[in-house]
């Protein structure tokens, strides 16, 4: 007798994601509007690609240099407020890009602090932040602390015994760097560098706001402009395809080459570094800390100045936008968590029950591929699909949570997947012998262990989605306004005071959510 078995939810989700992406692309490519040839957009594409690569390379190199220097200085020195600096480093992970844009305007803009300071000194020659300067400042501001944070975590994993050996052998500072610090850097950096390059390569909000001209745009911005200004769906399809291929190959490279198994917990080395007393290193570290402080502190403080302007923006449209942002972010987080849960449980089944590590690896990789999909192209494709089948006026309300949710899947997945594996390894056999399967297994075995990581994933997904200024740039308008969109509008109108207050609200909510996520994910250990 033929029995029809429903496939595993994870399998369905995987197919749904692939179908969604493929459907979007097919809708774009087959849109009836005279598809341009790759040749016709060639020169433009070449310029955009060149700019994307150059700015991403420069951003990566500068972020790595400042981040590594900062990490080494922080690990060698102790000073008043060090713990605050460490805590602040972690927060930039969820710093919304549009807020970084505001900070760059506030400090380096036409009427920013630097320009005012120089004018005060009688220096009125205006300088422009548009183009490379603004983009690089924003990218380094967002990424250098991230590099420092990851590098610090790596350096803290060096076992205490190695520091004692270094002392016992009388290592010089150079030998300490060679045998203790450098091996850590060498294993961590390729992965971080790749990730930062990828994020800068597909940077959107920063390049849109600070690019300052059509020749200075990333592929992501080019796709947006083709959509919003030219309505040229054929060009969108081409640009998106190229973006997808480049980002997907980079993601694959990063995923396969640099994803290492998580290291077991080691006792943090509390042993004093023998190179802490070296005079030259002391001056070097002081210099690095000073540069980092001079660069990062004003940008960070500029956001805080929004506090005094908050009364000015307490209007109906702000509260409405806050509510809209929270709703979209919550919906996106639900989508992200459900998809991550389905994919992670499919991966677990393949790995532990069906003993098929290759398929499991595919499920592990799928969330990361979502980082490579150009959101605007996907949005445009899905918009065309919706248009074909129904009323497109409400498309934004569906697409915003969906696209943001998809983008947050890799983050939620990282919270959920390891815990799901642990539960199965511990109780899998017991459950099998008791005959506990399916939903019962999920409720009895998985849920108690999964509750906290899932909540942590939810909070982080919500934080990321809340501050996102991506496809809202397409849908934003009188009908649909999120806080980041409101901020972008105020920036465009050069109303920096109001922008500062909105930026502060965004940052506060995003940081609170990220903080909750951190607390939740650490509480179990």
């Amino acid at each position: 007798m033929l029995t029809l078995r429903l496939p595993h939810p994870g399998t369905l989700v995987a197919f749904a994601i692939l179908a969604l992406v493929a459907g979007g692309f097919i809708a774009l490519a087959t849109f009836d509007g005279g598809t341009p040839t790759l040749f016709s957009i060639g020169p433009y594409l070449g310029r955009v690609l060149a700019f994307s690569i150059i700015q991403a390379t420069l951003s990566t190199v500068l972020s790595l240099a400042l981040g590594i220097g900062l990490a080494l200085a922080l690990v060698r020195r102790s000073f008043l407020g060090r713990s605050i600096v460490l805590a602040a480093l972690s927060t930039t992970m969820v710093m919304p890009t549009i807020v970084a844009v505001f900070a760059v305007f506030a400090v380096y803009g036409r009427s920013g602090w630097l320009a005012e300071g120089l004018a005060f000194l009688g220096w009125n020659d205006g300088f422009s932040i548009f183009g490379y300067p603004g983009i690089l400042i924003a990218h380094v501001f967002l990424n250098a602390p991230f590099v420092a944070r990851i590098t610090l975590d790596g350096l803290n994993q060096i076992p205490a015994e190695h520091w004692r050996l270094a002392t016992a052998f009388g290592f010089t500072p150079a030998q300490i760097f060679r045998h203790l610090d450098w091996p850590v850097l060498r294993t961590e950096l390729p992965g971080i560098a790749g990730l930062i390059f990828l994020m800068c390569f597909k940077s959107f909000a920063i390049v849109l706001a600070l690019g300052g001209g059509p020749s200075r745009s990333t592929l992501e911005v080019a796709i947006y402009e083709a959509l919003k200004i030219d309505l040229d769906f054929g060009r969108v399809a081409w640009l998106a395809l190229i973006q997808l291929v480049i980002c997907l190959s980079m993601t694959a490279l990063l995923h396969w080459a640099f994803t290492r198994p998580p290291v077991g917990h080691t006792i943090r080395s509390l042993v004093r570094r023998p190179d802490a007393d070296n005079r030259r290193l002391k001056s070097l570290d002081a210099l690095v800390l000073a540069i980092a402080a001079l660069f990062i502190a004003p940008l960070a403080v500029s956001v805080l100045t929004g506090l005094r302007n908050i009364p000015d923006i307490l209007e109906a449209d702000l509260l409405q936008a806050l509510l809209t942002s929270l709703t979209i972010a919550a919906a996106a987080a639900v989508i992200a968590c459900l998809l991550a849960l389905a994919l992670a449980s499919a991966a677990r089944r393949r790995r532990l029950v069906l003993r098929s590590p290759r398929m499991a690896a595919f499920y592990d990789f799928l969330p990361d591929t979502l980082l490579a999909v150009p959101p605007f192209a996907l949005t445009a494709g899905l918009f065309l699909l919706i248009q074909r089948f129904g009323d497109p006026s409400s498309a934004g309300l569906i697409l915003l949570p969906l696209i943001n949710g998809l983008a947050a899947v890799p983050f939620a997945y990282r919270f959920v997947a390891p815990h799901l594996l642990t539960v199965e390894e511990r109780y899998g056999r017991v459950a099998a012998s008791l005959g506990v399967t399916g939903w019962a297994k999920l409720a009895i075995m998985d849920w108690p262990v999964l509750r906290r990581p899932l909540a942590a994933g939810f909070a982080l997904a919500m934080a990321l989605s809340f501050g996102d200024f991506g496809i809202i740039a397409l849908f934003g308008g009188t009908e649909l306004v999120t806080l980041p969109y409101l901020l972008y509008e105020r920036l465009g109108a050069y109303r920096l005071d109001e922008a500062s207050a909105i930026g502060l609200v965004i940052v506060l909510v995003a940081f609170l959510l990220a903080h909750a996520s951190g607390r939740l994910s650490h509480a179990g250990h």
């Binding site: 190695h162 004692r164 050996l165 010089t172 030998q175 045998h179």
Partner: protein
Amino acid sequence: MLVIENCRLTWPDFVADYSLSVKAGNLCAVIGPSGGGKTTLLHMIAGFETPQSGALTFQGQDLLPLAPAKRPVAIVFQDHNLFPHLNVAQNVGLGLRPSLRLTDDEKRLIEETLEAVGLEGFGSRRPGEMSGGQRQRVALARALVSGRPLILLDEPFSSLDPTLRRDMILLVDEMRRKRSVTILMTIHTPEDAADVADQMAFVADGRVVASGRPADILNSALAPRIAAAVSDS
């Protein structure tokens, strides 16, 4: 002769005050409950901890003013003795020259020492490719190659299985006889070293409670405390 006289170290929640003498060329097994101060004793001799008062001499030389690298002391830990990015020969070579600029003679010496600990031809291996017992042999070779007359072994073989542990202790005994080095070794299971050690010291609550011939210590009134310390973890 290693002489420790009333070396006092204080922390907010722990006070140690050590007095102990070990004859040159002897093997002294240090036993006692975990958290009792065995490791701190070794760390103090190596120079990682500095006593506020007391005297510490080896062969008449005052060790206290010397930096760890200048002391006639080599140390082997329970774990993480080797740098994973260096091969076995380089890891051993660090005991001779931290710069790793080794002469041909030094390279030959490293080969010979590896041979002596039963690792002939392992020089180009990475620590990651070796078993726990092999890695501890490398660490021991490094301590020996440095030519330092006092070797401290901090629970060096506790993570190995009993048979292997016994083999390693016999190797340590053989090495110290051939090279006439003085050895202080903390161990968790006293019976492993009862027949090879010349001296046994029972350390608890930051003090050397008793020290003497292993048989005397193991059969003394301390026997129940020693048994409790072993079964403790």
